[in-house]
């Protein structure tokens, strides 16, 4: 055996080892991204992976003839399975019910295949080395490979390529080994042409995957988010992105932050409790927008509430918040409560049909940053909303920042007043949003500040409420026009005011 071949086989050991460990790391990382709780995820993944490798080693004894050819096929297979694994996992993540089964199956299959590699390689090499040399060389390269993998993965691969591309790249390396072995041992193996062709095709397929990985998890997109993207989906209406850093989850719709799990309680408490606490006899609540179920979580804290109707446009949103474990933890499974009815419909159209009345209404739409959403802040919309408000009822509207966008905020107030509603504007500080504003509206001037709040409250209390109702000079009321379907002044104000800070 010549020197070249010699080196080549040892490099193969090294590459195979590196790849094997990287697959394990990918599976672990992906599982903890998607399912949360990294300790559990990593340890179960490593367990399953190592165990599967054991199975692979054990199975290796059943391979008797044509070991080189088997090894080549094995490498191609590892490359394909490992290379596409993270894509598959990202794609099936939505159908969460089966996600774990698929996750562990993929980890198992990869483990078995990787477990087969080293024993087979050792048998190829066994006639070429003395046993002690063989063991020492193979294991040395195996462990060096592992070290390299553990350094390259977090420092280079994930930050620069992202998970999906990394998988494809590693898959390509595996198949590359197959190709090199194939070419080098051309004379010793049967069907060399066939193996070589399949290796080439696989490399091409994985390269295509590598190039188009951006479609699956938009890498360029991931650059614009500070944290790791753990879920992204384009629904017909919006792009939903969920990111995670440490324990903190953040939800973005079309690039705009909707909540950050560490301070969303400030927002949702402020949105719901000043109004609902003042309505001890409220039974029926309507929530428009707010498909994350976080406002509903707050509403369900009142035992007198009998039914909550949530109208959100996007099935993709409510579906996600009904099924993802991390998100269910966050919204306390509020959307699964038997009291809650989720309706996926356009709020404006839905309101125009005849409706029953609601004691309390939460209008929590995205900011009026475009003309489509702007319609949901018009006098026409508020007229309809007023029509479904029960006598003595309260509605509350998220109304952007009175500090950054005072004109926008007070336009919502002016518009509500223009349809004959009485308004109670207030605000609080939500660290990830800044100073934020809300407006309660009632048909008659009946609002009385609640004397006590639920003890579970972390932000809203009788004392904090006084501060919330007070508007310092830098957020004081300004004169604005009424926002109408045929003028959409709010969108224009909003654009002006936010463009000067962003």
């Amino acid at each position: 055996m010549n020197k070249k071949l010699h080196a080549l086989l040892l490099i193969s050991v090294f590459v195979v080892a590196t790849c094997g460990l990287i697959y394990e790391l990918i599976a672990g990382t992906l599982a903890s991204y998607l399912l949360g709780d990294s300790v559990t995820q990593f340890s179960t993944i490593i367990g399953v992976y190592l165990f599967s490798m054991g199975i692979g080693s054990w199975v290796s004894k059943y391979f008797e003839k044509n070991i080189i050819s088997w090894f080549i096929q094995l490498e191609i297979l590892v490359g394909l399975v490992g290379g596409t694994s993270s894509t598959i996992l990202f794609l099936v993540f939505e159908s969460v019910a089966s996600f774990r089964i698929i996750l562990y199956s993929l980890v198992g299959i990869t483990g078995i295949l990787v477990g087969l590699e080293i024993p087979l390689l050792m048998r190829i090499l066994k006639d070429r080395y003395e046993f002690k040399d063989l063991v020492s060389k193979v294991f040395t390269f195996d462990y060096i490979g592992a070290l390299l993998a553990s350094l390259v993965f977090p420092l280079l691969l994930i930050p620069y390529l992202g998970l999906v591309k990394t998988s494809y790249l590693v898959g390509i390396l595996n198949v590359g080994v197959a190709l090199i072995v194939c070419v080098s041992f051309k004379k010793e193996i049967k069907a060399a042409v066939y193996l070589q062709t399949s290796a080439v095709i696989s490399v091409l397929a994985l390269t295509v995957g590598f190039v188009y990985a951006g479609v699956i998890t938009n890498f360029s997109e991931s650059l614009t988010y500070a944290d790791t993207i753990i879920y992204s989906k384009s629904t017909p209406y919006q792009r939903i992105i969920l990111t995670k850093k440490g324990k903190v989850l953040r939800l973005f719709l079309n690039g705009n932050l909707q909540f950050s799990s560490d301070d969303e309680y400030r927002y949702h408490e402020a949105l719901v409790h000043p109004g609902l606490q003042a309505l001890p006899n409220a039974h029926n609540v309507l929530v428009m927008g707010g498909g994350d179920g976080l406002a509903v979580r707050e509403i369900l804290k009142y035992p007198n509430i009998q039914s909550v109707t949530l109208v959100d446009l996007d099935k993709g949103m409510t579906g996600l918040f009904k099924s993802n474990r991390m998100l269910l933890n966050l919204n306390k499974s509020s959307l699964l409560s038997p009291k809650v009815k989720v309706i996926n419909a356009d709020a404006f159209t839905w309101l125009r049909q005849d409706k029953k009345k609601f004691d309390f209404m939460v209008i929590d739409f995205p900011d009026p940053s475009n003309y489509s959403v702007g319609k949901l802040y018009t006098n026409s919309f508020y007229k309809l909303a007023k029509g479904v408000l029960a006598p003595g009822g309260i509605m509350v509207i998220q109304a952007t920042s009175p500090y950054v966008a005072p004109k926008s905020f007070w336009t919502v107030d002016t518009t509500l007043r223009s349809v004959g509603l009485h308004t109670i504007p207030y605000h609080n500080y939500v660290p990830s949003f800044g100073e934020w504003g809300y407006i309660m509206a009632t048909e008659n001037p009946v609002y009385k500040k609640p004397a006590v709040f639920l003890p579970v409250m972390r932000f809203v209390t009788k004392e904090s409420l006084n501060l919330m109702f007070y508007f310092p000079k830098d957020m004081a009321k300004v004169k604005t026009e009424v926002n109408k379907l045929n003028n959409q002044v709010l969108v224009k104000y909003f654009e002006d005011e936010w463009s000067s800070v962003l």
Binding site: P236, F348, Y371, S372, N379, S380, K484, N486, Q488
Partner: protein, 559 residues
């Protein structure tokens, strides 16, 4: 732009005589035919993936009238008091008025299997959309007949400080208009972005002039420019403007900015289907100076529109008519019997049978180019050849997204500077839904680069691919990459889309003659009798003719 028809080289078809018209028309047809062949030979046309069809008014009916095809002899006769022929806005308005005034013995005849004429509309799974007329502006406040109707159908919901409150779902949603000019979409259609101070000053001067003309009254204390136009002042000072073209007038006013002239050409194309050199100055000014409507909740000149355009108003006008309407029946001749009654010969298009209707009186609400074929022995003293109609091409384009360009986003009305079309309207503008990206865009192309007869003939012979060849380069210019987003294009050709107010038509003798009743039992109603084709004119044409009928029965028409 290479989106222009191949024959659009300067100097082609100029000052056509009758003889050369035939020659040129032949050339055009041959050219189009050859063009079609060449495209067939070279199937790699860029737009072959776009599917759809070309439609238009019933072609068979036109054929029967024009070519006088032999029809079976009438085998039945019906007698009624009043017959209305044509269910465009004029005919519908006449019928509504008769019914409202308690005159019930009438029939409304329509050759198409739908009412509405040029205000017809279509619908697909994405949206309803207009096939012709698509908007009106808020009514002049003293036009109580119109405001009455608008209130009746919920367009006006009430009054505040004696100003009408318009239904906010019908007032055009913001953003309303944008113009692609100097590489960017600007808000509004009046050119502004990239204009020199000089050009801007001229635009300002023009609108200042219009503001004056909006207010002026003649010696008879009537507005110089009013709607319906027959309410306008008879003062010669203003009527003289009908004797020159709008182009000459602008020249006299020293308004020469190319941007301003483009804009005024655009407006005339939009309203009349012709440019400033073809329409009279009086008509050109009327477009701007006749609308003075004030509302409690909208600006003056505010637009009212619906997904199906004026198809919505059509349905409201027809709402109470029920059994009175007979669709799919065309009138192919009108005569008098010995008793002086009107005998209308009717062809049932589906069944292929004919019958006679004997009526005490008739409202002919069909255009004069049709009437010319209906009357054999009735002389009206009208020179039909002096009535000019603009042909139009409409495309309803279903797209699954709209590639965005620099500047203002999608509006209701979207126009590109210096292109042959007058742009497109977004049929889904009035939806309150947060829509996905699918929408229908209605693209309007007035065929005004040649004499109407030539343009009409060319339009009739053009194939679907040829229409795409005209339309798509312009759309691609507005939205690079839009071709791939198109799911379907439904084309519609209006051979005689609308009358246009050529010099001396509106205040000339011909229009007067065409409006005149015959034997005090045959009355006429159509926008071509106004010379300006807008909903309001059609609406009043109908009421005027209906009142003429009511007078026969001694009914004092009440408003």
């Amino acid at each position: 732009m290479n989106g222009r028809p191949f024959y659009k080289s300067p100097g082609f078809v100029k000052g056509l005589s009758r003889r050369s018209f035939l020659l040129k028309a032949g050339l055009v047809t041959t050219g189009i035919f050859l063009g079609g062949c060449i495209r067939k030979l070279n199937p790699k046309t860029a737009y072959k993936n776009i599917k759809g069809s070309i439609k238009g008014p019933n072609a068979k009916a036109g054929h029967i009238l024009r070519d006088k095809l032999p029809l079976p002899a009438p085998n039945a006769t019906r007698t009624i008091k009043t017959l209305i022929i044509g269910s465009g806005i004029s005919g519908l308005s006449a019928a509504r008025w008769l019914k409202k005034q308690g005159h019930h013995d009438f029939e409304l005849l329509e050759l198409e299997d739908h009412v509405g004429g040029n205000s017809y509309s279509g619908k697909n799974s994405v949206s309803a959309y207009p096939l012709g007329a698509h908007y009106i502006t808020i009514a002049n406040n003293e036009d109580t007949l119109l405001t009455g109707f608008l209130q009746e159908c919920g367009v006006i919901t009430g009054y505040e400080n004696s100003l009408p409150v318009y239904n906010e779902y019908y007032l055009c949603f913001d953003p309303e208009e944008r113009l692609l000019i100097n590489g960017q979409w600007q808000e509004g259609i009046v050119p502004d972005f990239g204009l020199s101070a000089d050009d801007k000053a001229q635009v300002k001067k023009f609108f200042a002039l219009i503001d004056e003309l909006k207010k002026v009254k003649g010696v008879d204390n009537k507005f110089a420019f009013d709607i319906p136009i027959d309410n306008s002042s008879t003062d010669d000072k203003y009527r003289a403007l009908d004797l020159i073209t709008f182009k000459e007038y602008l020249h006299q006013q020293k308004l020469t900015s190319v941007y301003l002239l483009w804009y005024l050409n655009y407006c005339c194309k939009d309203d009349y289907g012709q440019k400033i050199d073809k329409v009279s100055a009086w008509a050109g000014i009327h477009y701007f100076a006749s609308r003075r409507g004030k509302a409690a909740n909208a600006e003056s000149n505010a637009v009212l529109t619906w997904p199906e355009g004026n198809g919505w108003l059509t349905q409201k006008l027809a709402a109470e008519l029920g059994e009175h309407v007979r669709k799919g029946n065309m009138c192919y001749s009108i005569n008098y019997n010995q008793k002086g009654q009107v005998v209308a010969a009717i062809y049932d298009i589906a069944k292929g049978i004919t019958s006679n209707i004997i009526a005490d009186n008739v409202i002919v609400a069909t255009p004069q180019f049709v009437n010319q074929r209906l009357f054999k022995d009735i002389q009206r003293g009208v020179d039909y050849s002096k009535l000019n109609y603009s042909p139009w091409f409409i495309a309803n384009i279903t797209v699954n997204r709209l590639p965005q360009a620099k500047g203002a986003g999608l509006c209701w009305d979207n126009v590109a500077y210096d292109t042959p079309s007058v742009g497109y309207v977004n049929a889904g503008q009035q939806t309150v839904k947060i829509t996905d990206e699918k929408r229908v865009l209605t693209w309007y192309l007035p065929l005004c680069d040649h004499e109407p007869r030539v343009a009409r003939l060319a339009a009739y012979t053009r194939t679907y691919e040829q229409w795409m060849g005209i339309m798509m380069p312009e759309l691609e210019y507005m939205h690079p990459g839009i071709t791939d987003a198109i799911e379907d294009v439904e084309c519609w050709v209006w051979g005689h889309g609308m009358i246009y107010p050529a010099v001396n038509y509106i205040w000339g003798a011909n229009r007067k003659a065409a409006q005149k009743p015959v034997n005090n039992n045959m009355f006429f109603a159509h926008t071509d009798l106004s010379g300006i084709s807008i909903f309001e004119e059609a609406f009043h044409q109908g009421i005027r003719a209906a009142n003429q009928v009511l007078t026969i029965y001694g009914k004092q028409p009440q408003t």
